[in-house]
Symmetry: C2
Amino acid sequence: MEFLTHYSCTLCGSEYTPPVDFYTCPKCGEKGILDIHYDYERLKKTLNKQYFADNTDYSMWRYEPLMSVSKAHIDKTLRVGWTPHYKSNQLAKRLKMDALYIKDEGLNPTGSLKDRASAVAVLKAMENDNVTIACSSTGNAASSLAGNAARMGLKTVIFVPERAPIGKLAQLLAYGADVISVEGDYKAAFQLSKAAIDHFGWYNRNAAINPHMVEGKKTVAYEIAEQLDFDVPDWVVVSVGDGCTIAGVYKGFYDLFAIGITDRIPKILGVQSEGCAPFYEAAKEGRELIETDENTIADSIAVGIPRNPTKALNAVKRSGGQWITVTDEQILESIVLLGKEEGVFAEPAAAASMAGLLEALEQNVVSRRERVSVIVTGNGLKDTKSMEHYGIKPKRLKPDLDLLIEYMQNNEGGRT
Amino acid sequence: MEFLTHYSCTLCGSEYTPPVDFYTCPKCGEKGILDIHYDYERLKKTLNKQYFADNTDYSMWRYEPLMSVSKAHIDKTLRVGWTPHYKSNQLAKRLKMDALYIKDEGLNPTGSLKDRASAVAVLKAMENDNVTIACSSTGNAASSLAGNAARMGLKTVIFVPERAPIGKLAQLLAYGADVISVEGDYKAAFQLSKAAIDHFGWYNRNAAINPHMVEGKKTVAYEIAEQLDFDVPDWVVVSVGDGCTIAGVYKGFYDLFAIGITDRIPKILGVQSEGCAPFYEAAKEGRELIETDENTIADSIAVGIPRNPTKALNAVKRSGGQWITVTDEQILESIVLLGKEEGVFAEPAAAASMAGLLEALEQNVVSRRERVSVIVTGNGLKDTKSMEHYGIKPKRLKPDLDLLIEYMQNNEGGRT
């Protein structure tokens, strides 16, 4: 973090020089989300293509000079990042696209892109001499925090609403997290986590508040760029819940452009579920975000009150991108499309990005001549229930070869 | 595969020069499993430590010269291999061990070590101009085959016993596999798959029969060696079901020793579940394998009739290793141990290896002064049900800070 210069408030613009001991702007309170700035002029002298060619650390830490964490302990973390960025074998042909790429973030250690933020949270907590980190979440943020913290010997306290299914909690519990099931809804869990963090002084990993989370997530953009030899795509597609991931994607591409390694920032397509689309609606109607329902199977992006809207809205606007929505049906279809055509198993929120691309092609928002990178944010193993609900079933047969032959003939199967 | 010289039968010793169009020895039939041989003298001239230092392909294909597949299409596969080999942060201290490593194979594209075999199966099928690959399995072999085949545009037909739970099949179905649920048990599914493969001429990925599967799996040993700068550990610990994985581990270390990159072959600790331990019992009593029950939660190693016993028994014997068994209770405890202390979430069969190490330390089979690498063969997300059965539950609380403070005090929690 030797290139970190200062923090600024995204609301009032106030600047703060490190070290700072607050998460949000003291003047604006909780809505005063901070942005983190680096000395791009000095970075230009160090970080060029050769720097990366010589760097043998194939994890997110290869970008440490562009981050807000100290190098201490980096060698002991889980191996987060440097996930595959596949060039499409079949889908591009099927969609008549010139170039389509898939960034499989499900191969991070705990199965989602959130590891990039949690890995940073853990190191920041250690810098602050915290041994306990907390957050409220039922999903990937929580499990990634629990896993990354466990690796470093830190404790985690996770607040979940009582309705959280035990299956979703298995990973958390295996990582030894202290899971508090709060009677009531998500808001009740969030409020108790907030009170507890204030009371105990635990490190706070709630991504909407902690500016370092975006600084972790932005490394996915660095990788997409580097995995294309810094010839960035025309579009990057990402599904959007609380808005921190899309904010990170923009920030990453912005950094690379600012230090002159890339020649532009890709347009960012922000994908929301039709049943929970506060960003899409706000952008469309040119107004502030309004709390919405959370009616979608894509639970990782079912966020009715995003607590960090500014950076996300700016990401799409400043990149010249667009917001789009998809239905649950389109999401389920895209899980199978990604699985069947590319061998990538995505959870619903992660397949939403592919569904968004299909919709954007349909609406001529994205051209088939443009180069597109789709971010798959989480592993399909996180949510196998959705596949069950989709109703694809095995073919039941008696153990009889003739019956099988008959079935195969009717099913365009049986090719050698 | 330019260094492949010939095949030999593990039963009768007959040798065959490529190309061969059979899976097992024509003289011995299905029990005549083949072994694959390479020109170690020529390899010695090419493959040295510098060769690997210069190799920028961070996947299993970095070892292509030591493998039995052609290079064509390698660049289009899923990114299998080069999984993390973590030096233990906490567990080594807790166990008072000098050096403990964890190879997290759950971070392969479909979540298990089986991807190493399936990736090879897919390329071999393409070499043979097959467009359909089949196997009988309810587990990781099937899902990894389906995923790796999907990526290359090949079809898969998977035979499963009717009892296979739909949750286990979700991943298969997402990859677009043709899943045949065979009325009856696993044997019925296996028999129908065999008849169908014969009838249709599909490529056969049943690992017990196809010698190339071991050649894929052995790359995990290469990686363990290389990730330790070719200073191999004293012990490598792996759980054992049908025996193909442990056979691969031995073969990998054998190859490296034969070409002179390493100075010895590690002792291999083969871990079986007490409720299904045909190898352990055969080795202990010095007799052939006898069919056993399959009473264990670790379904990926619940194989009562291993169809490829010779290579597995040889792996332990020739490495100077040992067989050991663990209970389901020990396996569940090891899931939490790996999760809580190292942030690695293992499925039951994968945690069995860690349980086996604990048992081996207890029995003084392994010394705490020896360097040990434990292979975690599959991702815990594959089987979250086991955690539920283990009975770890969240703490239910009303949304009240005072209640939380009280709970934390009683729970040695609340540290900042």
